[in-house]
């Protein structure tokens, strides 16, 4: 069985980080299996955990009154699930449901925030990496706001 330290060193989000930082991060990690249809977290929960997905897919969903649940994004192996643990008020914004069995490394966000407070280099590295994740998600969201497929100008095609 692979150790958490090994899994952390292979996770894309932590690629290239110094060994001592990987060790600190691994200290806050644990293996987690989320069965098909189970939820990793729900909207409004304290954002005390994030996940590095190893296998399987996670659907980010939102529920609204009188409307069916809507999947707004799926995350796959190599992706990080959850960044609200970095940003006050540390509350989850969406529901996260496993599509198929998901294997992930789960990290205690509060534990890691504490380590970032005392090790500013670790904090900088993590915030820098999560800034990329947040930016990519923001760009993808903007792209979808354009509703490009709704364009009614269809001539060729």
């Amino acid at each position: 069985m692979r150790t958490i330290a090994e899994l952390v060193s292979e996770a894309e989000i932590f690629a290239g980080m110094r060994d001592e930082h990987l060790e600190l991060i691994a200290g806050c990690g644990r293996n987690e299996v989320i069965r098909d249809g189970e939820y990793a977290f729900h909207q409004g929960d304290p954002a005390d955990t994030f996940f590095a997905i190893r296998t399987g897919m996670v659907a980010l969903e939102i529920a609204a009154p009188a409307r069916p649940r809507l999947v707004i994004e799926t995350l796959e192996p190599g992706d990080v699930l959850g960044w609200s643990w970095l940003v006050p008020p540390y509350r989850v914004r969406f529901d996260a449901r496993a599509v198929g069995t998901v294997h992930a490394v789960a990290f205690d966000g509060a534990c890691l925030r504490g380590k970032c407070e005392t090790d500013s280099e670790l904090g900088y590295e993590l915030y820098r990496r999560f800034a990329v994740v947040i930016t990519e998600r923001l760009q993808a969201t903007r792209m979808r706001l354009l509703d490009v497929y709704g364009d009614p100008v269809a001539t060729v095609g």
Binding site: R69, V71, T74, V148, Y149, P152, T155, V156, G157
Partner: protein
């Protein structure tokens, strides 16, 4: 009258509803002469008494006896075309325009389609599969607004079963019953683990989607000269005379609709008025 300006009568052999507003029509020439075309070309489809509209050929170039068009009903002409049933008569001019390039032997061919853009790419996908040994990887990346708006769903299922084609499908949003991806097409490119030196990209879809997809491909290291896109414009004459489809110094009907990205990129970043 020039042959390219005179419509040839075709009969509708069958129709299939693809989505709420999109239909695929199988047409057969009344004279029996197959309409041979190259992947990426289009015809001018004429609903008699209503008007004419440019539509990409979406069938298999190796089976030209049936002319296949996929049409979204968005205006008077396309609504009339979509309303046609078996036995009805439509006029066809063409084929017209520059085809998709035939990728060099050994190339990984990456098809990037968005929405209705899968239709103009499908003949090139058929051609790549017909000549499968010639290519490295054959990859189809397809995005749509929602699961029910994806084209050719049976075809997608069949492609998914093949081990010589890699298919990734994503939608902008979905209900909880959808077990596939939700996200944008450029994200599929980033996940496809492409070898930038071996890859050639053929893209068709809404222009904004293509721009983001090309940016993603180039960011992965793919030479822009190995990226090709197919454009939609207001083609009328289809032979480069009327100027309705002029884009910069090009007529999309004659010089396109397929362009290498460097040929056309500057024009696509100019705001139209």
């Amino acid at each position: 009258m020039s042959a390219s300006l005179a419509p040839t009568p075709f009969r509708v052999d069958s129709t299939r509803r693809e989505t709420e507003d999109t239909w695929t029509l199988d047409l057969v020439a009344e004279g029996g002469e197959p309409l041979r075309f190259e992947p990426g070309q289009f015809t001018m489809l004429y609903a008699f008494g209503v008007g004419e509209v440019p539509i990409s050929v979406s069938g298999d170039p190796a089976r030209p006896q049936t002319l296949v068009h996929t049409v979204r009903a968005v205006g008077a002409v396309t609504r009339a075309v979509c309303a046609a049933g078996a036995g009805d008569r439509l006029g066809v001019r063409g084929p017209f325009g520059r085809a998709w390039p035939r990728p060099a032997a050994g190339t990984d061919v990456v098809f990037v389609a968005g929405g209705l853009g899968l239709a103009p790419l499908r003949p090139a996908i058929y051609a790549a599969l017909e000549d499968r040994e010639r290519h490295g990887r054959v990859i189809v990346l397809y995005g749509g607004r929602a699961p029910e708006q994806l084209l050719y769903r049976e075809q997608l299922d069949a492609w998914r079963e093949r081990d010589d084609l890699e298919l990734a499908v994503t939608v902008d949003a979905a209900g909880e019953g959808w077990r596939g991806r939700v996200g944008v097409v450029p994200g599929l490119l980033e996940r496809a683990q492409l070898d930038p030196q071996r890859s050639v990209v053929l893209a068709c879809g809404p222009e904004v989607m293509m721009r983001f997809s090309v940016d993603a491909a180039v960011a992965l290291g793919i030479d822009p000269g190995r990226v090709f896109v197919s454009l939609e414009r207001n083609m009328r004459c289809a032979v480069g005379h009327c100027g309705h489809c002029q884009l910069g110094g090009s007529f999309v009907c004659r010089d396109g609709p397929v362009f290498a990205w460097p040929e056309i990129a500057p024009q696509l970043r100019v705001a139209e008025r």
